[in-house]
Amino acid sequence: MKLRALAHSRTGDKGNTSNISVIAFRDDDYPYLCEHVTAQRVKEHFRGIITGEVVRYELPVISALNFVLKGALGGGVTRSLALDAHGKSLSSTLLDLELPERNASA
């Protein structure tokens, strides 16, 4: 199942850094997302798209994760050659992440 089945995502940009949030539709899914949507998995998923490190921040009160991705925006939004200079479509990339099937539960 893809991450988009369990969460939505927004992006922000600052210089050459992108931040991408993952917000669980249901609070109950948050522990599962924390377990499987790790900084390492996200870095792997974005290989070839970003050039730097990925740091994950947890916001359990709102069942969300925020990923900060360095070297993500072609040298900076204001000078990038990229078609999507702000990296707004990177949220769609992240929501394409494959998640392992869970054991059947409510």
Binding site: K14, G15, G48, I49, V61, I62, G76, T78, R79, L81, A82, L83, D84, S89, L90, T93, D96
Partner: protein, 160 residues
């Protein structure tokens, strides 16, 4: 920090904290960074991607042959790999739009890039359409920290 819903269009926010000012102000500095030249053209129907790739190869070689000086270039297929450099699946789209973009040191040099794409109308693969080009000066923004003590607040109000 917690946010709890306490009524219709009403929330209670608790638990926030603060920290002392850093003594620095974040400063955004605008500067003339470079020039960017760009061109796009579309192909449709059977073999659109193949023609698009050939068009990109032609422009790449033309820029080298004619000595267009660029410090950075991109050769994208919009609809295939323009956003994230790869297609997740290998489905052939009905149409594709090529995009050539390069960074140059002058506006005149930037204009040459778009011209090499536009000329594909009659000097490129069959059926190229909807050509578009642009050459522009790039004023970029860099971030810096300035000691707060160095900044004097002055307010100017303009009425239009």
């Amino acid at each position: 920090m917690r946010v709890e819903e306490i009524g219709h269009d009403r929330v209670r926010v608790t638990g926030g904290r603060g920290a002392p000012k850093t003594g620095f102000l974040k400063t955004s500095v605008g500067y003339v960074d470079s020039f960017i030249g760009e061109g796009q053209i579309s192909y449709a129907g059977a073999g659109a991607v193949a023609r698009g790739k050939l068009a990109l190869d032609i422009v790449r070689e033309r820029l080298a042959l004619t000595g267009v000086a660029t410090s950075e270039t991109r050769f994208d297929l919009i609809g295939v790999n323009a956003l994230h450099g790869r297609a997740a699946n290998e489905v052939e789209p009905y149409e594709v739009r090529i995009r050539v973009v390069g960074r140059t040191d002058s506006l005149a040099e930037a204009a040459r890039i778009g011209n090499e794409v536009e000329t594909l109308y009659t000097n490129g693969p069959a059926g190229g359409g909807g050509a578009w080009k642009s050459a522009r000066e790039i004023v970029a923004v860099a971030s810096a920290f300035v000691p707060e003590s160095a900044a004097q607040l002055r307010l100017s109000l303009f009425e239009a």
